[in-house]
Amino acid sequence: MKPFAYERPVTAADAVAALAAGGSTARYLGGGTNLVDLMKLGVDQPDHLVDVSRLSRATIDETHDGGLLIGGGVLNSQLAADPIVRARYPVLARALLSGASGQLRNQATVAGNLLQRTRCSYFQDISKPCNKRRPGSGCPARDGHHRELAILGHSASCLATHPSDMAVAMTVLDARIRLLGTDGPREIPLAELYRLPGDQPDRETQLDPGDLITAIELPPLTAAHSDYRKVRDRASFAFALVSVAALLDVADGHVRESRIAFGGIAPIPWRARRAERVLRGAPATPESFARAAAAELDLARPLPDNAFKVTLAANLLVETLVDLAQR
């Protein structure tokens, strides 16, 4: 591991200033559950770490309109156990608890969770090419192992998936991200945080250098049932092959509103807008759900070893919506 400087500012403003002063290879350090691994592997080699894991506002507060404001330094375990999250946003609690392990959730922050890097094998091995890690070096996954990789939203240059469960749930909750940058604070929808890879897979978000996620805001949730279902290669402690976050509001046997996002199949948490459009006003039946899944997955461009994800994603969405419709 390369030597690096380390500092731990007290306020968010100090952190932003410290990062700017630290130069282009300075990084914010949250729980370190991903960044420290990447440093040990040589995938990321920062000269300067700005520890933001102990900034003051690591709290979960109700907003005046009945939503939630979650500090960027809140721990994943803390958020999953929050009584309001469990009662009003079960999709989020379930997503959090399906991610990582108890030990990691006790260490990982929610801001860091949003910004974790793909677990693509090639990205994590510096002895091999990777367009995300070393732009222009190539992508061995297309002709190599890609069973775990993307079927939607990927490009010729990159097949990586976004690894977060929490971000998939927050996507259907229409979360907003509060940022502090060198030009002051601003707020963006989570849906606008991530970029598709295109021919620049090394650029993963719309953040400017030095932007710090200070908080995540969840709008109040209307009456709807929600759930998170994750399929992986073992029962616990593995990244999703496919996951689904879904909200369903059914009245008189018809879908009033649905919100759907997939994890594990795209470079970003994949909001399934096409599926949602198909469902609007449709009978809440397995047939409608299957049509919605088909409409969304019509966009899929799988490779030989991950074609099963198309079937799996459709089945998982139908299973999840059937279950929600019966509640």
């Binding site: 591991m1 390369k2 030597p3 040589g42 677990r119 094998s121 994590q124 091995d125 002895s127 091999k128 061995p140 002709d143 190599g144 192992h145 069973r147 399929v231 290669d233 073992r234 029962a235 616990s236 402690f237 593995a238 990244f239 092959l241 074609a307 099963f308 079937t311 799996l312 089945n315 998982l316 139908v318 299973e319």
Partner: protein
């Protein structure tokens, strides 16, 4: 000489005598020994799969403060040539597989060593590599023997003719992937030279063999080398012999003139410490319509490396499991530009019995016979290929008693009909077996006047409980309480014992302990039962006793039962129940034995559902080389798992009447699970592991 021991320590669930040390962190493992002046090593591994190192530029690394040396083939001391080419580290610029050792950086701290390793520039001349095991490869060959010394091929009768006229024929190919041993404790070596003497604190299953290998490499008298390995955090065969890292540590320590510590990373273990070869196995069974086997043919293809040959004995269990007049088994190898495969828990029996026991299940279905009944109908009176008498064989008891405990009666054989919501439910069974090996061993025992005893043998407790069961064996032999006995293991200066492998540790070391204790008891009797102030010693060597053992077929047996649930929408597989019934001679310690059984079954479950090392064709290495990508079971995957045993008395094994229990329980588990998946879904998966994509894809 007494052959039956009757006092109460054997058979009791004595808690591990080193358990408190371990759970309080006081048990010292190889890399934890505190040695003044220790330095640290970081490895450079080849980034090509085949070719030559043409240049190594260590200038930048050597400029770093704290870097002591960069050692490669360019400047390494010469080692004596040895059979295992893997141990000839830094002796040649040739690269035989990706990940092979190219250089080592030694520095004052691990951080400096790792940083410096990243600054070493290595240039290669790569040649095209060949890393894919495939049945149509022109280089497939017949090895001279298979591990450790079994015939490569065997044949009895005319299997082809019997298959041609059989009422029922099963002809299927089963595929198992490469899998890696992955003990919790990575391989670690801490080498200390003192004058011309070398001591290495090491994590090994065989300190004596490792000592001999090092003495040969460094051209030292074996008495000048000592391997110290009191505690070992698992090995599963991967620590059964010297691995490259111990040679690196010893060589580097000699170069820098200070102790060198080298603990492999998890990633490094995926190329440097062996793995279970992938296999392609064609099974052909010919039977009468009532299930009587007429022919068994088992043809195995597996891989080895170009640097050194390892030929797994995958079909040997097929030679002795079931009665059939006509039988043929073959092993073929393909040498590829890959890391060297080696021993992994039940090498041979484990993948071989997955194929055989899956095929038996397919035959049971084809014959419309209960799979337990099918196995019982083909029970052989003597060992089929050799005609030897069994020392004991209680497979049928395991199948019947296990079936009763598991609740097999009234099982509807129809596949795919038991539904619980989106989940299909099924059950499966498979047999287990493992040879009962025994090796000669030495042991000594020392009595002190205070009534305490020290028992010494160069065995290894690799997490099995060996130290505890040897304590019990000595206690009964000496008629002393277990807490008066201290068992010393894991030091090559102790009386020589065989490797902790082949499930023969307890049987081999234990027999020598019994004989040494008997000798001590006799000496004490001559002294009127009074221990002199200086204490009294006795020792034994069982080599002659083992050589004189009657020629019998000695094997352990078992039956495993699995209940599985398969989600029809997602292909997720869960195993709510796993039960194993074993016939393994006398159980010394029910608590540690049960731990061995359910540990092996968990590893078998892992083989069935999770484990696979993915070879990257373009780069030629195993791609998923960490625990985030290489999946082993979590607690959530291991639900109701249990094991029991039949009361088996066999006095033709060793003085304790034991059979080995370290490996049998991983044999058959994968077939039981795969058979249950078929029963649940009607889908026969003939390629492990059974991942969701293979059920819904």
């Amino acid at each position: 000489m007494a052959t039956a021991l009757r006092s109460p320590a054997i058979g009791s669930s004595l808690s591990r005598v080193d358990g408190r040390l371990k759970v309080t962190g006081q048990a010292v493992y190889a890399a934890e020994h505190q040695i003044p002046g220790v330095t640290h090593a970081a490895l450079l591994q080849a980034e090509i799969a085949a070719g030559t190192v043409i240049a190594i530029d260590a200038t930048a690394a050597l400029r770093l403060s704290g870097v002591l040396a960069v050692i490669s083939h360019q400047n390494a001391p010469r080692l004596a040539p040895v059979d295992d080419a893997e141990l000839a580290v830094f002796q040649s610029p040739a690269v035989a597989y990706r990940g092979q050792l190219v250089a080592v950086v030694v520095a004052d701290s691990l951080e400096i060593a790792r940083h410096a390793a990243g600054l070493v520039a290595v240039e290669y001349d790569a040649r095209p590599h060949d890393v894919l095991l495939r049945p149509d490869h022109p280089g497939i060959y017949r090895p001279d023997k298979v591990n450790p010394a079994y015939p490569t091929d065997t044949e009895q009768g005319d299997a082809d003719a019997a298959l041609a006229i059989a009422d029922i024929v099963v002809d299927e190919t089963y595929e198992t992937p490469a899998v890696h041993n992955n003990p919790m404790e990575p391989h670690a070596s801490l080498a200390v030279w003192s004058g011309g003497d070398l001591t290495v604190y090491e994590s090994t299953q065989g300190a004596a063999d490792t000592r001999d290998a090092l003495a040969e490499l460094f051209e030292l008298d074996p008495g000048a080398v000592r391997i110290v390995s009191p505690h070992v955090g698992g090995g599963f065969g991967s620590k059964g012999k010297a691995r490259p890292q111990i040679v690196v540590a010893a060589l580097a320590a000699r170069v820098v003139g200070r102790p060198v510590k080298l603990a492999l990373t998890r990633r490094e273990m995926f190329s440097l410490t062996g793995y279970r070869t992938p296999t392609l196995q064609r099974l052909r069974l010919g039977a009468d319509s009532d299930g009587q086997l007429r022919a068994i043919v088992h043809d195995v293809l597996e891989q080895t490396s170009t640097i050194s040959e390892f030929a797994e004995q995958t079909a040997t269990a097929t030679r002795m499991m079931y009665a059939a007049v006509n039988r043929r088994t073959t092993h073929r190898l393909l040498a590829l530009d890959v890391p060297m495969p080696s021993w992994m828990r039940a090498p041979g029996e484990c993948p071989g019995m997955y194929a055989l026991e899956s095929a038996l299940d397919e035959l049971a279905i084809a014959c419309r016979i209960d799979p337990i009944e099918l196995r019982i109908r083909n029970e052989p009176a003597v060992e089929p290929e050799t005609g030897k008498q069994w020392s004991s064989r209680n497979l049928v008891a395991c199948l019947r008693d296990g079936a009763a405990r598991f609740g097999w009666a009234d099982r509807d054989p129809t596949p795919g009909v038991r539904r619980d919501g989106n989940w299909l439910v099924g059950t499966g069974v498979a047999s287990s077996t493992y040879p009962t090996y025994r090796s000669g061993s030495e042991a000594s025992v020392h009595a002190d006047p205070d009534g305490s005893f020290t028992v010494s043998v160069c065995g290894a407790d690799i997490g099995t409980g060996a130290r505890t069961v040897l304590t019990q064996i000595a206690a009964d032999s000496l008629d002393a309480a277990p807490d008066r006995i201290d068992v010393e293991l894991g030091d090559s200066d102790l009386p020589r014992g065989p490797v902790a492998g082949g499930s023969m540790g307890t049987g081999s070391w234990g027999a020598a302990v019994v004989r040494a204790c008997e000798a001590l008891v006799a000496k004490l009797a001559d002294l009127g039962g009074v221990v002199p102030d200086a204490g009294i010693d006795a020792s034994a060597d069982t080599a002659a006793e083992v050589a004189a053992l009657p020629k019998l077929a000695r094997h352990a047996f078992g039956a495993q039962f699995a209940e599985v649930r398969v989600n029809t929408m997602t292909g997720e597989v869960r195993v709510p129940r796993l039960f194993g019934m074993f016939a393994v001679g006398r159980i010394i310690n029910p608590k540690t034995a049960r731990s061995q059984f359910i540990g092996g079954m968990t590893m078998g479950l892992s083989m069935a559902l999770f484990e696979q090392s993915l070879l990257d064709r373009e780069f030629g290495d195993y791609l998923n080389h960490d625990f985030a990508q290489y999946h082993v079971p979590t607690c959530a995957d291991v639900l109701d798992i249990d094991a029991a045993w039949v009361d088996e008395r066999d006095d033709r094994l060793n003085p304790m009447g034991t059979k080995g229990i370290g490996e049998i329980s991983i044999v058959g588990t994968a077939a039981a699970v795969a058979n249950a998946v078929h029963h649940a879904t009607g889908v026969r998966v003939r390629r492990l592991p059974i991942t969701p994509d293979r059920l819904i894809g």
